[in-house]
């Protein structure tokens, strides 16, 4: 939805009030409700679908392949597709790049290793069916749910193939749950002196700036970076904003993790 100059000014004033007045009545640290389904794609090793209250929808599929990691040391491929954006657009490619970066950094490759030579390589395909606000946080929740519901074939051959060259052999039907700690990405909008978590599209339109914060292993991790939520209201912010953001994420993230783990 395109907002007029007056609407934007009104929204900006109410969002920068103390406490912020968000159009949907949320508190600054409150998320929009999401619906999350997992394990619905029969051909994937793990899958999830997330639907946000504004109608944004995202599907994530995780597939695995056995590779020789001494040859191919890339253990993760993230592919992002966003409806309404070209695949080679800056927006889609940079979201893909952020996700690849954060997952490669934070996921433990050891969890995917089968033998000394072979390991699983994960292909994470992200399809955003519709998005109204910045989809990064939504995608990250979906990836979290998908990876945590991923089951991989159970290895029955020996895990030491250094002495004897051997192909890994799997059990016919027994699966093993993938045990990885998946990082989460949070987006916050900075409006005036306020920090708003999970900005809706109209809030993003008037935001002065945005921040992406990573949460992994029960604490704030990297990358942390500024992200443009719109093109024409971008402004600088003080270092106090960063402090507030980090405090807010530290408070909210454990609850989000708890909620996502409850599925």
């Amino acid at each position: 939805m395109v907002l007029s100059v007056t609407e934007k000014a009104y929204l900006y004033e109410s969002l920068s009030a103390v406490p912020p007045l968000r159009p949907d009545g949320r508190a600054a640290h409150q998320f929009r409700p999401v619906e999350l389904f997992t394990d619905f794609l029969p051909t994937s090793n793990g899958s999830s679908k997330i639907v946000a209250s504004d109608g944004s929808e995202c599907i994530v599929s995780v597939k695995a392949k056995v590779v020789d990691h001494t040859v191919d040391n890339e253990f993760l491929v993230v592919d992002v597709d966003i409806a309404g954006h070209r695949d080679d657009s800056q927006f889609v490619l940079s979201i893909g790049s952020i996700l690849t970066k954060v997952l490669t950094q934070q996921l433990e490759q050891r969890g995917l290793q089968l033998t000394r030579k072979y390991s699983f390589k994960l292909f994470i395909d992200v399809l955003v069916l519709s998005s109204y606000s910045h989809p990064l946080s939504l995608i990250s929740f979906a990836i979290y749910a998908a990876l945590n519901s991923t089951y991989l074939p159970k290895l029955i051959s020996s895990d030491d193939d250094l002495d004897v060259a051997e192909l890994p052999l799997f059990h016919d039907y027994d699966l093993e749950k993938l045990d990885v700690r998946v990082p989460l990405l949070f987006t916050v909008a900075l409006v005036g002196n306020n920090v708003l978590i999970d900005p809706a599209s109209n809030e993003s339109d008037v935001a002065n700036n945005g921040l992406v914060v990573t949460w992994s292993n029960g604490k704030i991790g990297t990358p942390i970076m500024t992200i443009g939520l719109n093109d024409d209201n971008v402004k600088g912010f003080g270092s106090s904003h960063i402090r507030t953001t980090l405090e807010m994420i530290e408070k909210c993230a454990p609850q989000v993790v708890k909620a996502l783990d409850g599925i």
Binding site: V66, Q90, F91, L93, S94, G96, S97, I98, T100, K101, Q105, D163, V164, A165, E166, L167, N209, L211, K219, I220, G221, T222, P223, I224, M225, T226, I227, G228, D231, D232, V234, K235, G236, F237, G238, S239, H241, I242, R243, L246
Partner: protein, 236 residues
Amino acid sequence: MSVSDRRRILGPTNARPIQFAPLNEDSKKIDTERKNLNKSVFIENGLVSNSNGSSYLETRDSNGIEYPTLLLTSVYGPRPTRGSFNSKASLTIQFKEVTAENFPTGELKELCNFLTNIFNAVINLAGYPKSGIDIFLNLIQHEGPSGEYSREAILPTCINGITLALVDAGIEIFDMVSAGSYNGTVVSFTKNGEEIVGLWKDTGDVEDLVETIEKCKEQYYQNRSTMIKYLMQNKK
């Protein structure tokens, strides 16, 4: 799943993969120290004659010529855009490696996205309705310390380069935006360090973020004053 190579001689069964001894702590320390050292910069504006404004930057360590970063930035526009009416200019930033391609495309697009966000905040976009401003970054040479290619190492140079090119083009900017980097964190400031317009932290610890920002600010002051000195000496 491919079949394993049975024609290959696998070697003796008790063979172990080759391993190198870890670097000793002292040499590592010097390396990080050198990373955070003051850099010497060479600036030349207006080299690209058919662009509206351009800048050429050479950043190298003050103690030698080991790791120079050469960056050429050119600014085109404001020029008309087609399509719907825009009361503000739209900004495009493109990054290209001229000599060798060391970065994957996605990473470069992310870098451009980040830079666009910074400069959306400082260019007086409202002064250029119905237009587009195009910025092209050409990385001629870059080699990080110990030969690795990191975006953090070139980011401050990119930001300084764009600022200088915009000034050269005479496009209105609210401040001389610049950046400093410390241990892989890049922070870009305006308004004499009061405001942050860009924060890029890919690795490292978050605990000392505030301290890191302060360190970056020191470098920002240096970079900014160097640029201003260059511009003012040429104008008077």
